[in-house]
Point group: C2
Chain length 229, copies 2
């Protein structure tokens, strides 16, 4: 493994939000970034291939943390269990099935451990509240208390300027699509949103619906190939 | 895997504190407990064998979560890295080498995910502040904010009565040894403290020194065989 000294840590899933956050963070701190992704048994592992594309492009070190031994404990989520991934808009009640219990806190806690070990001070997260409130760990309140908790849990060991960098928290998804396309020239065909993990984006699950809307509202071209088209 | 519905979760390392916490939790909630242990590449894996002894005795389901893919990111700690485990009392500066960055928050975050998935509401931790302040994630302040953070991160999904159960936080270690011996009849020869993970407890590292002191101060027999004797 690359020597990590002084490196900050970005959690990148391969979706639009975290990939765009990575380019934004790179714009600010340059290549002092170590990228982490997580395999928690999700059906949509295709997204990890796209992380490789962007870390190659930016020449950043990258590790996939294997959390598959946790998978059996998370059977209630449709993203890892046997249930069908629900279709429709995020607002629908059944999208709650896509919540993986405590997912962002698990990933942030592990990434923070690496960050503290590295001596870096920025923990980059792609979370955004969007227009759907079903993910409680994508809210401002969570990001704020997460930062304080990590400081308390690691007092004396964590960098004094430790910061949770979550630039999209209060930004609508169309802004992410617009900034990423116009400012950073991100090829969004190399990002993955669909929860189903087929060959193409299904175009019907909550995250596909949201993705399509974002490009329309941003008035930028959507490079995604959807199954339904 | 056993059906976990309704089960609470206890994190048990196989050390005195978490094993005694498990018996105390069992005394309160009976067998509605799923036990989790973690393999994060620690040198003292022997402690996991002792967890098996106690979960067998109490007939509780038990899983070891494999976090070894995180190990490479935690190279600065003497517990997982190549450094020698330091000897002497916990108060000594070099004992800081035994701190694993963000360890308790990582483990608690994963255990909380399982707990929420199960529908249980008690997360049992063996952490205690003791007389040494070098572990910032063994303090009351950490346990308190951890509970609040988990509630915020999982609002709408976590049990309304969710509680971090950490009965030893402000209890001296000799009280743990006394309660465990006199009230629960725990066989402490089936617990492991030593950071070095040899055949016997070394008797010299910080946690061995603390263990020996606890039995002396509690005025109960220490069943541990130490290398130095």
């Amino acid at each position: 493994m690359t020597d990590l000294t002084g490196k900050n840590v970005a959690i990148v899933s391969g979706g639009m939000d975290s990939v765009t956050m990575l380019y934004h963070m790179y714009d600010i701190v340059g290549d002092a970034i170590h990228v982490l992704s997580f395999n928690y048994g999700q059906k949509h592992k295709k997204e990890l291939d796209y992380v490789a594309f962007h870390t190659d492009k930016l020449e950043l070190p990258w590790n996939v943390i294997d959390l598959t031994s946790v998978t059996n404990l998370l059977t209630r989520s449709a993203l890892v269990g046997k249930s069908e991934v629900p279709e429709g808009h995020y607002a629908a009640e059944n999208m709650k099935q896509t919540v993986v219990p405590n997912r962002n806190m698990m990933m942030a806690s592990i990434a923070a451990a690496a960050l503290i070990n590295n001596g870096g001070y920025i923990l980059g997260l792609g979370i955004h509240a969007g227009d759907h409130a079903i993910y409680p760990d994508c809210r401002v309140a969570f990001a704020e208390i997460l930062e304080v908790t990590l400081k308390i849990a690691n007092e004396g060991f964590i960098h004094p300027q430790f910061t949770v960098f979550a630039p999209w928290l209060t930004v609508p998804k169309q802004e992410i699509a617009r900034v990423g396309t116009e400012r950073y020239g991100i090829d969004y065909s190399k990002t993955w949103s669909c929860y189903k993990g087929g060959e193409l984006h299904c175009g019907k699950c909550g995250t596909c619906v949201e993705r399509k809307e974002a490009f329309v509202l941003a008035d930028v071209e959507d490079p995604t190939k959807y199954e339904e088209n």
